[in-house]
Amino acid sequence: MTAALPADPLPHDPMPGCALPGTPLADALPGINACVHCGFCLQACPTYLNLEDENDSPRGRIFLMRSLLEGTVKPDDPSVQQHIDQCLGCRACEPVCPSGVPYGQLLEATRATLRESRPTPFLARLILFVFAREWLLRPAMFFSRILAATPIPTLLSGINGRLGFAMAMLASTGRSIERSRYRPVRHGERGKVAMLRGCVMDGLFNTTNRATERVLAVNGYAMLDAPGQRCCGALHAHAGDLATARSLARRNIAAFERSGAQFIAVNAAGCGAIMKEYGHLLKDDPEWHERAARVGARVRDVSELLAAAGPREGGPLPIRVTYDAPCHLQHAQRVTQAPLTVLAAIPGLELVPLHDSDQCCGSAGIYNLIEPDTSDAVLAPKLANIRATGAPWVATGNAGCLMQIGAGLIRAEISARSIHPVDLLDASYAALGQ
């Protein structure tokens, strides 16, 4: 072999200067650079599997992010905005990524950057506006609670479109498991815990919040109050409104610092995920960064605290339950076993495996209201899989998933109901009399 080897140009072109200097996206470049384009994320992505276009895959969206920085696409390009908007933010791509691309952070940075060049949809803006303000959130939740107690949501849950879906979501919140009252014996030997009350959890899942306090008490945690706490800011961060998310985070950090709690218990996976990442959210804030990281390190999903304590076995609850893993619990927090450990502490409970339980349900915060078509497409196989289990209960530990699956079950006329694992454990303790 004598032919000379070619002097072909090295294929990589250097980035010709950043097109969006000083933006959150420019800041995220190292995370973008970690992507080697291997494509291992494709089959984990619910929007890629449903929309069948790589623009709607993690690899494709990262490529769009890079292209935004290179200047080959502009932030006001409607198709780029559409594909970034269509991401559920489920982060199922993260645990399969060999390079450890922090996709959730890249998405937030991109949305924050795009937000500057176009308005957020009105409905999203309205929801975010209300959630950031106690004086609006309380009456809104009060009104929702009153409405949920009437037959109206159930009556309207069948109508087409988002209004019908929203009504079905409300209707699904009033269908928890019956249980008798019990008074937990309080030892508190496992440490002091303050709970994030949350917005939707506090407003529509108050039963679950009370159950969370009781089951933690039964398992040896001393429950403290943390007054002054607010919405966690997850919805705002996911929509790219980082300023509001940070302001809410600072209030929560201060509130939980004051409480003196060793652990911060969170029973909504989406809230827990962002709180654990408060350090990243405030990374550029010299005054708050360390405090944020310290508070973030004390955050636990309620199932983690319960699993660490056993949890204590309850009374018999002979029901069939299937479990759906919330994305922000399994992918963002990487908590997979703890909820199953909680369910295993309930004698008589039969856990029916759910096919593709690791797939997103399409809730994704307020995504189901903003991107209804894609959300429905992602929800459809979930409902079919739930139907196939024949189980009358679907346990899942996140407010959004509870309502998304709950609403889907109502609208598809499947008799199963969604429920938080903590409610099941609580019912089991109630059966024991404590």
Partner: protein, 514 residues
């Protein structure tokens, strides 16, 4: 099998010339949502798993059924338009890039058409993901043997195009050995059956010619694959070494002992450490300079004996430890680390260049030493992770393209590494294909006669050179290439002048693509 037929209504016939008119006609076939023509939406289709190469397609079309795919190809044939078929875009040679022409994405064709457990075969559409096929057949005690490291993402259609390999091809053979038959649409729009579901057909093996043709011969729309019974026993060993040289010698010694392992994989120190930093950390010893991952399968009794032999060969060859996976979970962990190693290298630097060369196994020690010397000379870190059993090297270099000096050093190092592989009697690609990336090396290993023979073979399937133009064989090596204007949406001149037939000269046998 009934070949997919296009209904006449689905094949718009009059000639159209503008991009928007072509897009409109394609949208009539596949639906508007599945045709992309905006520049900003086509960007993500401008690279595959080797993103250093970028070529912007003119249009992307994603048929949702075999019938739609047929209609698309026939429409493009009528218009005389070139196109590039694309699977999941996980290729590592730039093979699925479309330079200003139409890209046909086949990822929506993901039906497993039939599974015949008794005869151990399955018929699938080209967009079925390799791992999904394996999960589908696993409950029946069967598996599809070719297991490229990208199995979780790559498609069977792409595997056919590249004649994909994988760790277990050492014992089980490559894609070529596991595809029985295909329904292929030729670029002309004609549908042909290649191979036979029941066994070898008489005559020339056109199926064999098609597999590994890198999308240049047409599109396989239905692929019937052979399924393999799961072995009774599988044992996986991890041997770690304090020198690359020792591991390389042991590789040859294992094969020389007469044992054919199901897989025999090599990872060097830098690769071990990058994997251990990732979520696919497999428990490889971080301080080792090399590990061998050796899998033995077959009947219980035979595997037990082989296991002892391999263990002894490893220890005799200065292995520090030899560990056998205790259970399936540990075995999977060891394998996941190996299979995700390529992806994990994004941790080292923003850009990655990956090579794929085959050398005679016995030359491993000296070639690896040469590669090490080259990496020292240029001050670059080479991560070696490869299929040692069949001498298929994958040197990877992570670097920053933003640093021109570093880029230059990486460039020179890679050329010297390839040179060393070729000088050792090797080949330029084991399993990634030639695509764009290796095209420049083709003339270094093939004579003009051989290259012309390849061009002539291509003429049989695609006389107009419209399917994946500008790949595999360098343009100037094929005289008839002049007719195609190198990837414009419109072909400037009438296709392909007729080529004078020439006798084939004897060509020294090359290691088969794997």
């Amino acid at each position: 099998m009934t070949p997919p037929q296009a209904s006449p209504a689905q094949t718009p016939s009059s000639t159209v010339s503008t991009q928007s008119a072509v897009a409109e006609r394609l949208a009539e076939i596949v639906g508007e949502r599945h045709v992309l023509s905006r520049q900003s939406e086509l960007l993500v289709y401008n690279s595959d798993g080797l993103p250093g190469y970028r070529r912007q397609p003119k249009l992307a079309v994603f048929p949702g059924s075999g019938e739609e795919a047929v209609a698309v190809v026939r429409f493009l044939a009528k218009q005389g338009l070139p196109f590039v078929p694309r699977g999941a875009g996980t290729g590592l040679s730039g093979g699925a890039l479309a330079d200003d022409i139409v890209v046909i994405g086949l990822h929506r064709l993901k039906k497993i058409i039939s599974l015949d457990v008794e005869n151990r075969r399955a018929t699938v559409e080209p967009g079925v993901v390799n791992l999904r096929l394996n999960k589908h057949v696993a409950p029946h005690g069967l598996l599809y043997a070719p297991d490229p490291s990208s199995e979780a993402a790559c498609t069977i259609g792409g595997n056919v195009a590249e004649n994909a390999g994988g760790p277990h091809c050492l014992k089980y053979g490559v894609t070529l050995n596991h595809v029985l038959a295909m329904t292929v649409i030729l670029p002309s729009g004609e549908i042909v059956e290649l191979g036979s579901k029941v066994g070898e057909r008489d005559g020339y093996d056109l199926r064999g010619a098609f597999i590994g043709s890198e999308g240049c011969f047409g599109l396989a729309l239905e692929i019937t694959v052979k399924l393999t019974p799961k072995p009774q026993t599988v044992r996986t060993l991890l041997a770690d070494f304090m020198s690359v040289d020792a591991a390389a010698h042991v590789t040859s010694a294992i094969i020389a002992s007469g044992i054919v392992p199901a897989a025999l994989e090599f990872m060097d120190g830098p690769t071990i450490r990058v994997v251990e930093d990732s979520i696919y950390a497999a428990g490889y010893p971080r301080d080792a300079e090399a590990i061998l991952l050796i899998e033995l399968d077959g009947l219980e009794a035979g595997v037990a004996a082989d296991l002892e032999t391999v263990r002894r060969v490893c220890l005799d060859g200065a292995a520090r430890n030899v560990k056998v996976a205790r259970d399936e979970a540990e075995r999977m962990k060891l394998w996941q680390g190996r299979k995700k190693a390529f992806g994990a290298m994004g941790r080292l630097a923003p850009h990655l260049i990956v090579q794929d060369a085959v050398i005679p196994r016995t030359k491993l020690p000296e070639v690896l030493a040469t590669i090490h010397a080259i990496s020292e000379k240029y001050g670059v870190v080479v991560c070696n992770v490869f299929h040692a059993g069949d001498g298929n090297l994958h040197p990877n270099i992570a670097y920053s393209a933003d640093d021109p000096a570093e880029s230059e050093r990486v460039h020179k190092a890679m050329i010297e590494i390839m040179r060393a592989c070729i000088d050792a009697g090797g080949s330029i690609t084991g399993e990634h294909g030639v695509g764009l990336d290796k095209m420049g090396y083709m003339e270094a290993i093939f004579s003009e006669t051989s290259l012309n023979a390849m061009c002539e073979l291509r003429s049989v399937f695609d006389p107009e050179r419209r399917s994946n133009p500008g790949k595999v064989v360098p343009v100037h090596a094929c005289k008839e290439w002049r007719a195609v204007s190198g990837g414009r949406l419109r072909i400037a001149e009438p296709p392909a002048e007729v080529h004078e037939p020439r006798p084939l000269e004897a060509e020294p046998a090359r290691p088969s693509a794997r």
